[in-house]
């Protein structure tokens, strides 16, 4: 069965790039696409995807606020941050429960980057070792 992914980014340009890559290169089913943090929470509740990509700087509600609402309700959610920002916002998102971070731009034409991206996504599905 195909894994389900939701893509959240306010840029249509980025939505298309991610959608194409997940569908054509990774065999995922893109079940929904959203443009802000409100969409992220609503679409997650509606589809319960295997994975959600999340931008941080977005209108209406940003990625940090979306995680603050989402993670207490779905602590097992697999959220991959895809953002141009670095530093404190990323650390805050990881503290809130995001599982991984990849920095824009998404250079999918670069083989090394593609491999890094796929490895990161796949690593999010590995069992978490118990203490």
């Amino acid at each position: 069965m195909k894994r389900k992914v939701i893509i959240i980014d306010d840029s249509k340009f980025l939505q298309n790039i991610l959608q194409e890559f997940f569908q054509d290169r990774m065999g995922y089913e893109v079940v929904a696409v959203g443009t802000n943090g409100v969409d992220a929470v609503q679409l997650y509740r509606q589809h319960l995807p295997d994975l959600m990509t999340l931008d941080i700087t977005m209108p209406v509600k940003d990625g940090v606020a979306a995680l603050e609402e989402l993670m207490p309700e779905f602590p097992e959610a697999k959220v991959l941050l895809v953002s141009a920002v670095s530093g404190d916002s990323i650390l805050e998102c990881l503290r809130l429960g995001a599982r991984g971070y990849i920095e824009k731009p998404l250079r999918f034409e670069d083989e090394e980057f593609r491999k890094e991206f796929i490895d990161l996504v796949e690593s999010m599905f590995l069992p978490v070792p118990k203490d």
Binding site: S11, F13, A84, V85, K104, R107
Partner: protein, 168 residues
Amino acid sequence: MPNTSESFKMRQLLEESTPDFEVSARRAFEGVLGFPTYSPQDFHIASEMSEWSPITCRIQTSNTDFNLTLSLGIDESDLHRFFPKFESDEMKMDAIGEIANVIAGRLLGRRTFKSRFGTMKVTLPSFPDRMEMPQHFQCLRGGLISEKVRVSLGLVVKAKVKGAGNEA
């Protein structure tokens, strides 16, 4: 009147930030477009922005001490050369906004830049018809050429005057 020592200090901070701005911009263009990008002339300090481009994307942000405005200008006719697969102008503009977003993210995240201006958050890109600039500002200006297209870049950082109006 501008405070001369303050003005000198800002000029120095901007000059020191030249490599940060140029490297962030080049990497953003090369990363998003996948084309080699070069700088036809040195990035430099100026007392005015470059001529207003028909399409100018702007990102404004601030912290307690500084207002920052980053601008990226391109001719409308060149948009297609950058994004030949996109039919709609909306998508092309969206992609330009994404490049500006990546430049800002890289620039504001650089350790050297943060050590001079402190932490600032990346904000959403916009496409104003014209841009109000603060009085007595200094600007870091430059141009890049990618896929035979010239884009102009500008960075204005202005120190906030405590207790005064502080629009960027």
